[in-house]
Symmetry: C2
Subunit: 356 residues, 2 copies
């Protein structure tokens, strides 16, 4: 059976070895005679999966001991609310950098909770780049600064992260695990799993313990980070199968050589496509400014909308999946997350050249 050339933006390609492992044990995990899905979330067998996913993530990202790793449901979209509900008090302000549609949504949810300010935005230039920050604008009232580290729709990515005196909060849904990270720069990181971490249905939250030490008993129990930290994310039944897949993906990342090795591979993969764009004499036009280009999502257009449509049709016929740009902006987008094989990217780059 041949694997599809899957360039979906998320849910996205998973490592073949992960799927083969899950398939092999789907009816009999660890000799139990049960699927992982059928295990009690209080059983020793499941708790080993759960704890191993956490410790493996801690190892790969070198997460210090003063950070908690939580497994939450609801996707990044629920984090847009949980972050301000937990971290934004009445006398404080949540600062936001707008770099795309997801940052806008995060801001919109925070506005329902408390005071917010936009520190910087590249909306006026259709989110082609990551803005320079004037950190002097971060006033003393700042509860935190929220950013979106990679913008799937526009194909931009933060190349480095600022050192702040207030907690830096990052939505890393679409580039977590794509490169090494200095966790100590961040107060809280969250990521829906369905790009680099696993299947949809689980959201990883990495949070500095002192940020969630205050009791917030007025909050709905399931929206309080303390509920998750105090109960090892087992207050109620977690999405056990999604966490099992997450664990398998993390094992795969380790086998690939860890984050430094993945970063090299991701740079190489992205270069194939950006070269195909840059060497096309303007036939393919990248959406993102060069200095803000994402190694996860490569966005481009052709000279006319008809050209773009014809290209997408031809690519589809060749078996390339998921190259349509997000329905809100159009154009083309190739999502090349960790699990997309180099050979598939090379094949796409070849196709782009041949098509031209």
């Amino acid at each position: 059976m041949s694997r599809a050339f899957n360039f979906n933006a998320g849910p996205a390609a998973l490592p073949e070895v992960v799927l083969l492992e899950a398939q092999k044990h789907l009816l009999n995990f660890n000799g139990t005679g049960m699927s992982v899905m059928e295990l009690s979330h209080r059983s020793k067998d499941y708790e080993e999966v759960h704890n191993s996913a956490q410790s493996q993530l801690r190892k790969l990202l070198q997460i210090p001991d003063n950070y908690e790793i939580l497994f939450v449901q609801g996707g990044a979209s629920l984090q847009f609310s949980m972050v301000p509900m937990n971290l934004l008090s009445e006398d404080k302000t949540g600062y936001y950098v707008l770099t795309g549609a997801w940052s806008e949504k995060a801001l919109k949810e925070a506005q329902k909770v408390g005071n917010t300010k936009i520190l910087a935005s590249t909306k006026e230039e259709n989110y082609r780049s990551i803005p320079q920050l004037d950190l002097d604008l971060l006033q003393e009232d700042a509860a935190y600064l929220h950013i979106t580290s990679n913008n799937t729709i526009y194909g931009t990515q933060w190349q480095s992260f600022p050192d702040l005196k207030v907690p830096l909060i990052a939505d890393m849904s679409s580039d977590i695990l794509s490169r090494p990270l200095d966790i100590s720069k961040f107060g809280l990181i969250y990521a829906g799993a369905q790009k680099n971490l696993g299947p949809s249905g689980v959201t990883v939250v990495i949070v500095k313990k002192d940020l969630i030490s205050e009791p917030l008993d007025h909050l709905p129990t399931m929206l309080n980070y303390q509920t998750f930290s105090k109960n090892n994310s087992l207050y109620n039944t977690p999405p056990t199968f999604a966490i099992y897949l997450l664990k398998l993906v993390l094992d795969w990342v380790e086998n690939e050589g860890g984050l430094a090795a993945l970063e090299r591979k991701n740079i190489e993969k992205a270069k194939y496509l950006y070269d195909a764009i840059d060497e096309s004499d303007g036939f393919f036009k990248g959406h993102a400014s060069k200095e803000s280009r994402s190694n996860m999502n490569v966005t481009f257009t052709l000279p006319t909308e008809d050209d773009t449509k014809n290209f997408l049709d031809a690519a589809k016929k060749q078996g390339f999946i998921g190259l349509n740009g997000h329905r809100s902006v159009g154009g083309c987008r190739a999502s090349i997350y960790n699990a997309v094989p180099l050979e598939h990217v090379q094949r796409l780059a070849e196709f782009m050249k041949t098509y031209r």
Copy 2:
């Protein structure tokens, strides 16, 4: 490979044919060369799964057209908050019937949102039965009446449902699909999937449309039922694999003959265990009053705590999984949801007799 005798309370046993089907296509769903987990949630292939899960559920439960079927994350525990946030206005009161720990939790979350009253409770008798309701106590201020249709921890189940003038809200996490239901009696039904519907990670909400017609834009987007109803539960990425499994379980229910057939089978299964209790001359003692007995969770104790412990140890050695009572009450509990085969229940009943 032999299947375990799985009496877990949830996550629980799934039908073997469902797991075999999922296993077979895990790397290549519908000839796509991708796993269901790797499909875009906006793709035709996935949307067919999604819509088919809804229409299959509508057919099996005979859900009228004026009800929506929503797929939410966060488990029943998040519904404890979403129900009052969406349905309880300032001048109204949410009425609750307490029949166990889960009803108590539902009430506790509602108390954070607005006015509540307890209509009836069997807490004083350690939740051995479902109370008679004095419906005259339901005042004009009632926004709704909330019940828990089956109480996993105590092994009690509502045998019939009242006709009310206000919306009846039911947490059916542990007995949905176990018997035919007159949906028109209910305003809203919710159920975490991990007992009778599928794996953990998706929660089904069935709600009368006119109950969620008012705009509630102040709510977090992900906690507003309208977000789900207006976007066919595709506002953000849903837990696609869990919904796929749900769909396979629903197909299995249809192949089993539908809900009437399952109800007959569930009564038969439960009778084996209740007979083993009732014919034991008091050696096994059922926790639930006979008229409130659950066909999903059979709870019992032995003469002394040591006896109970010895029985559980012996059962474990014989390969019976998950017979320990909930950590909050102790004793023994056999959960015999739809997917637990009759033969496994017969085997347990035999073991109980032999052990005595």
